[in-house]
């Protein structure tokens, strides 16, 4: 797990996906052949860090490694380029989560004590609050 996590770190740390050099379609996670036009000319491409909530749920009794958050908010998010991503929500009181909320990516601890005792970091999303900037 540790090695594979390290190998995939760009995805988890920077939301690195792919962009098709032929038709400009964007994807996350990275693809090895374009799903729209079939081209094999794809390059690394960072996803936008903002989007909005399309759907969400609050997971009760989360799985091993996620017990710190009960309930654990998790959302289907549409990024500003139209690409979708599922992520935990952070820094947000659960009664403030609504469909349509604008969110931005934040860098957080995602899972503690994975199968081999590591701590995994990566993206989560936080609801954008115009008054208080939560991320910086």
């Amino acid at each position: 797990m540790a090695v594979s996590y390290w190998r995939e770190r760009d995805r988890y740390y920077r939301i690195l996906g792919s962009k098709c050099q032929n038709c400009s379609a964007e994807f996350f996670p990275p693809l090895y052949r374009c799903r729209k036009c079939g081209s094999d000319k794809l390059s690394d491409h960072e996803m936008p860090q903002e989007g909005q909530i399309l759907a969400y749920t609050l997971l009760r009794d989360p799985m091993t490694g996620f017990e710190d958050h009960d309930p654990m908010p998790i959302a289907l998010i549409e990024l500003n380029n139209g690409v979708r991503i599922v992520a935990q929500l952070a820094d947000t009181p659960i009664d403030q989560i609504t469909v349509g909320s604008k969110v931005r990516a934040v860098f957080r601890r995602v899972r503690v004590n994975g199968p081999n005792g590591q701590i995994f970091y990566g993206y989560k999303f936080a609801i954008k609050n115009e008054k208080v900037n939560l991320t910086r």
Binding site: L58, P62, L76
Partner: protein, 383 residues
Amino acid sequence: MRSVSIIGIEMTNFGRLEKSFKEIAAEACVGAMQDAQVPPKQIEEFVLGNFSSGTLVQQETIAPAISNSIGLPRIPATKVEGACASGGIALRYGYQMVANGLRDFVLVAGLEKMTAVSTPKATETLIEAEDREIEGRTGLTFPGFFALVTNRYSQRFGTTREEIAQVSVKNRRYGAKNPKAQFRKEVTIDDVINSRLIADPLRLLDCCAISDGAAAAVLCPTEIARKFSKEPVEVIGISQVTGRGAAFEYEDLTGFDSTKLAAEQAMRMARVSTKDIDVLELHDCFTIAEIVASEDLGFFTKGTGAKALQEGQTEIGGKIPINPSGGLLSKGHPIGATGIGQVYEVVQQLRGSAENQVSDAEIGMAHNFGATGTVCVVSILKR
């Protein structure tokens, strides 16, 4: 292509079984061969649908392990896997062998032993069927995935919590009469909407259980089926489709294209339409899944499945009786076994021996749905 029939079938009780995986598998496999009155030496190949025996019972290479323990040494014994659709996949591979003339007698089975590990461990194992690299890593579970589906569906169609709960009420009412079901107690709308929250808005009684169980069937060419069985059931259509592996891959989470395509292909192959189907066993892993699939399969237009349910159109006597066995919500869901278990229920209906019998059922459909719609198998059977 030769016509293929099921000449023998058996299913164990589903639930927390105090038996080993081999005992469970043997009960179904030996039972199916007895039902078919085919001696073991006549079986030429064994196909087993199983999801995660390595993690759940620490046994890989499980198909040969079972084959050897049920008096079928030497013949090819192969495991096939597609999460909750593993059983349906096994049926389809067995079907192809007989249809193509490679084999005359094939034993297909489905098996899962899930209660040997803790519930958190089972939940974690299940999510390995999802796109682990990205979405499984976020902590999303299958109840979580179907909660997102419920959230999207309710936003789009205004479906209420109570309407969705009706799936559980209907299926548990039927399941109460199924002697092989894990849960045989009826529930009310209030029971469902007041049960423990699992993943908002889904609650305990919206979710199928973690279960042990197995089911098996013997296939042979239809032309010789009546030499073995007085009531063979013909497989007139079967299709397996690969769909999307995670929530983020869907443009719209209110329907699953793999179900839609598998149903279209199976019905085209069987030369039937939805109005010819007398009974349907549908993959109701969660309450919302039954509403969504009743639309994707073509029985109701998108957005009207919940209304059809409230009107009783999915009950026995309605337009299309769905899950008269009690479905996964009552029977339990031993992952690899479910697909063949559904076929077992359809065969009982077509033989006229089901507990909740649809009168004069002639054609039945089984809808077996894996992971996030990543695999879907639809089978159509005719007596």
